[in-house]
Amino acid sequence: MPDTGFPRRVTDFRGRTLLLRQPPRRIVSLTPGTTETLFAIGAGRQVVGVTAYCDYPPEAKRLPKVGDMRTDVEAVVALRPDLVVADGVLNRRFIPQLERLKLPLLVIAPKSWLDVAKVIRLLGKATGHDRTAETLASRFEQEERKLRSRPANPHPVSVLFTLNVEPLPMWVAGRDLFVNDMIRLAGGRNVAEDGGTNYYAISTEVLLTKDPDVIITTVPADRLSPLREHPVLRRLKAVRNGAVYSVDSNLFVRPTPRLLKGLEVLRKILAEAKRR
């Protein structure tokens, strides 16, 4: 049950304040990440609308849909929501429209590991699940503190995180991504960090000179044969040593408590790479 203490004011990532008179009972979530987080903090039963991509937890799949990456604004209005949670980047095209319709809108825009803690706390406060949210959020901050208390590793495992292996160029994770922070937290170094923000197409020449210890990809393991067949890619250290790992992208790209699970996966991979 939601905590008491309503009405309350919450301030979103844009600095706008929203007054909630009572715990919202008709929440519409406009991204898969938000949906996951709402369920994780115990607000799942207050959610009435999600996107077609909201596949976790399985209960979310049964809820009415309000579009995919493009928001179906009419469907949002039709659900008569008392709280709409939008992502400042993914939903940016639809935010002005949602605002004009005077919908109770909360905008999140997480860019870093610590931002995810902020999102969890904000959603906890807005839905009345402050305590569960606080527990989850503090685990994100703990990980960051753990890293700070450790002495810096002079020889971190170098990591490349890629979305594809073919056709070249590879699309790899740069800065301003959770996965970049996660590599750092797991004790590794993202070799593509200096190339740009977000995902970008990396020059294969650069890939060859950076020669990462580990390649982590969202491509399923049974589709990695191009790596071993390509005349250049098969010469990469990670490919030669069999240090190419397929991972579930949802543990790395969505700003949700499941990133903690992704971090565990990364730690295991890097530990294995170190043992070699």
Binding site: D194, G195, T204
Partner: protein, 335 residues
């Protein structure tokens, strides 16, 4: 006459020098800078050069430059053929719907996860088949009572092209997370060049250049008008058919391995005609060399200026091609 011939010799010498400079620049520039001396050393060591620079030169830059050059030739030959046939300065390999067909096939293949199929040839194969399909469709629309009407062909090409392009757009909107990969393919890139692909393209280039040479007299006659060509004794229907088949083959081969690279097929024929004259007997070769040089430069820029990231080469050709073409048109007082 002699001064004309003298000018021609100078032009050919100049072009030769440009080709050499282009080759050196293409081998030395890139995300990792190499000096001409280093490159020379690596080339003399042979394919086996095992270290990073050797791999970069032999397995990344050379196949990539070769593929850019071949695609440049193919698009230029297709452009010369179509502009000659349609007697329209604005015709290019992409007005015939062929490229949109290739885009449709390849996008569908990328979204269907065919990238690893058939040793990496799944996507190009799908692109090629759909490109040829588009050309056949356009031919069927433009043909009536055994005769192909050139003006209808142009219109049919544009209509079929925009239809297929709208299918691409539809697939992109439904694609979700794969949009980036499809878009990069569409914008054109030589980043996945390999020697196997170069070998695959080579026969098409030979067919293109030799085919254009074989049609040269017919296309020269066509410049006087379809009727005049018929009066001169040319089988115009056959010429039209073969010219379209040739340009479709060249475009399909180019687009299916490299994506959509605009403006080269439009601009290069104009450059070649201005520099070397409008005689189709030499246009295949001169436009081919110019196209190859331009494409290699465009790709060299695409892989060096945003280090460590890559830019789609189609962005470079459009950025340079559009202003260049406008200048050309202003000079010829066409606008």
């Amino acid at each position: 006459m002699t001064s004309q011939a003298g000018k021609r010799v100078w032009l050919i010498l100049l072009l030769g020098a440009v080709v050499i400079v282009t080759a050196v620049a293409g081998l030395c520039l890139g995300a990792e800078r190499l000096s001409p001396g280093q490159v020379w050393h690596i080339l003399r060591e042979g394919v086996g050069a095992g270290d990073t620079s050797g791999l970069i030169v032999w397995q990344l830059r050379l196949p990539r430059m070769a593929m850019a050059a071949l695609v440049g030739v193919l698009l230029s030959v297709a452009g010369v053929t179509l502009q000659g046939l349609l007697r329209n300065d604005l015709a290019d390999p992409y007005t015939t719907g062929v490229s949109s067909g290739a885009a449709m096939g390849a996008s569908a293949a990328v979204l269907a996860g065919w990238e690893a199929k058939w040793h990496g040839f799944g996507v190009p194969a799908a692109g090629f088949v759909c490109a040829i399909g588009a050309a056949v469709l356009v031919l069927m629309v433009a043909r009536r009572e055994g005769s192909l009407r050139v003006s209808v062909f142009l219109l049919a090409g544009i209509v079929v092209g925009s239809f297929m392009w709208s299918v691409v757009t539809l697939m992109l909107t439904l694609a979700g997370a794969d949009v980036g990969r499809v878009l990069f393919w569409l914008m054109g890139s030589f980043a996945d060049a390999e020697w196997t692909r170069v070998r695959l393209l080579l026969p098409f280039v030979l067919v293109g250049v030799l085919g254009l040479r074989a049609m040269a007299y017919g296309l020269n006659a066509f410049a006087l008008g379809e009727e005049s060509a018929a009066h001169l004794g040319f089988d115009v229907e056959r010429l039209k058919r073969w010219a379209i088949v040739l340009s479709a083959l060249c475009t399909a081969a180019a687009v299916s391995v490299s994506g959509i690279i605009g403006f080269v097929g439009l601009v290069v024929p104009h450059m070649a005609r201005r520099l070397f004259g409008a005689d189709h007997r030499q246009l295949g070769l001169s436009a081919g060399v110019l196209g190859a040089v331009l494409m290699v430069w465009a790709d060299t820029l695409a892989r060096s200026i945003a280090r460590p990231a890559e830019i789609p080469v189609g962005v470079i050709t459009a950025l340079l091609g559009a202003p260049f073409f406008i200048t050309l048109l202003r000079r010829e007082r066409l606008v």
